[in-house]
Amino acid sequence: MATFELQIVTPDGLMFSGEAESLLVRTVEGDLCVLPKHINLLTALGMGEAKVVADGKTRRAACIGGMLSVMDNKVKLVPTTFEWADEIDADRADKAKSEAEEKLSHRDRLTDHELAIAEAKLKRALVRRSVAGRKQ
């Protein structure tokens, strides 16, 4: 099967480097699947699940923020957070979720900045939980 060169890097290191058959990510405009010989593309990533198919195996991951660039059949995925499903600490995500909800429950006391942070935290926790296979 045709493949393309895929690199996934985050501030925490190189998460994947090698040939892949397909890559599914959630961008700010919705889900996007990159297959070999994709047209050159640049887009910003949203928050959601990513799927990487390499060597016939599919791996899922939580992928948040950053950008995706496709240049001459070379794909570079540069998210701010990227965690493979089996590496996610689901209990921590649960805790983060309840903490964020707790904070948001009295939102009138928060400043705009704090509100934005709490909301972002909640969204991250939800993405992690869903990728880790927890019920919402």
Partner: protein, 276 residues
């Protein structure tokens, strides 16, 4: 003889301190070094990708790409929180000040030493919210980046530079300056032939990507700086310990000589007394 003894003792306690600091720096250095090696690919790919974009899109313009006449420059300067790290703080601050000389600047200092220095010299400080370099997290970098990008777009300054220390190896750290805004290509002039799709359209895309890019660069520079600081401190403390050892040897020699001299004199006196 008594003073020599006292000096030896104080030297020994100094040596213990520098030795301990060296060990601490060495263990922190190991962690910081891992951090640098892990984050470097991110740093490089991010930089390359954005350079590619800047190169490949002659058709589109963005306020982030536009070179304005530089009326005011913003410098993000990263130095250490503590001293006793050899020339580490001095070198990076010296470079920053040489670069800023004669320009209209505003400074975002990171690290206590850095804040103190720029405040003492009367520079305009944009914010000192990040006084402690050790406590700056990834998300802080992104907050800072968003703030800087907004101000850049708002025309508060026309250029953003970052002054940091490159971690070349444990023994070599090189202070450096990097321009982060406006964006610039590699300058190779090599354009991509095929067309590139931008999604969402370029303005909005850039508004999303650029703060991320700036944040990533700041974070990368910060990792380099932390590793450099520990490296510099380790080297400085290592040589301080060696110096202390040398001084102790020297003083012990003097002490023993003085002691021997005193004993000899005493014996001579006794012998002379018994002879008469």
């Amino acid at each position: 003889m008594k003073d020599i003894k006292l000096r030896i003792r104080s030297m020994e306690s100094t040596k213990q301190i520098t030795k301990a600091m060296e060990m601490v720096a060495a263990s922190k250095l190991r962690r910081a070094q891992e951090n640098v090696t892990r984050s470097r690919p991110y740093f490089e790919i991010l930089f390359d990708t954005v350079c590619d974009i800047a190169d490949s899109s002659p058709a589109f313009t963005s306020p982030y790409l536009e070179e304005r006449e530089v009326k005011k420059t913003c410098y993000v300067v990263i130095a250490g929180d503590r001293g006793l790290a050899g020339g580490y703080n001095h070198n990076v601050l010296k470079l920053a000040e040489a670069e800023m000389a004669g320009k209209n600047v505003t400074v975002v200092p990171i690290g206590k030493r850095c804040v103190e220095n720029f405040r003492a010299h009367g520079y305009e400080i944009l914010t000192d919210a990040w006084a402690e370099a050790g406590g700056v997290s990834v998300s802080d970098c992104f907050t800072m980046a968003r703030d800087l990008s907004d101000r850049f777009l708002g025309g508060e300054f026309d250029e953003v530079n970052i002054v940091y220390t490159n971690f070349v190896s444990i023994l070599v750290q090189q202070p450096a300056i990097m321009r982060i805004l406006p964006l610039h290509g590699t300058g190779s002039g090599e354009k991509h032939q095929s067309e590139t799709v931008f999604e969402p359209e370029s303005q909005e895309l850039f508004a999303r990507i650029v703060p991320e890019y700036v944040g990533g660069l700041i974070y990368g520079a910060l990792c380099e700086c932390i590793a450099s600081e520990q490296g510099a401190r380790r080297t400085a403390m290592d040589s301080a310990t060696k110096n202390a050892e040398e001084m102790i040897d020297d003083l012990s020699l003097k002490y023993n000589r003085a002691r021997q001299g005193a004993i000899t004199q005493e014996i001579t006196e006794i012998v002379a007394g018994s002879n008469t």
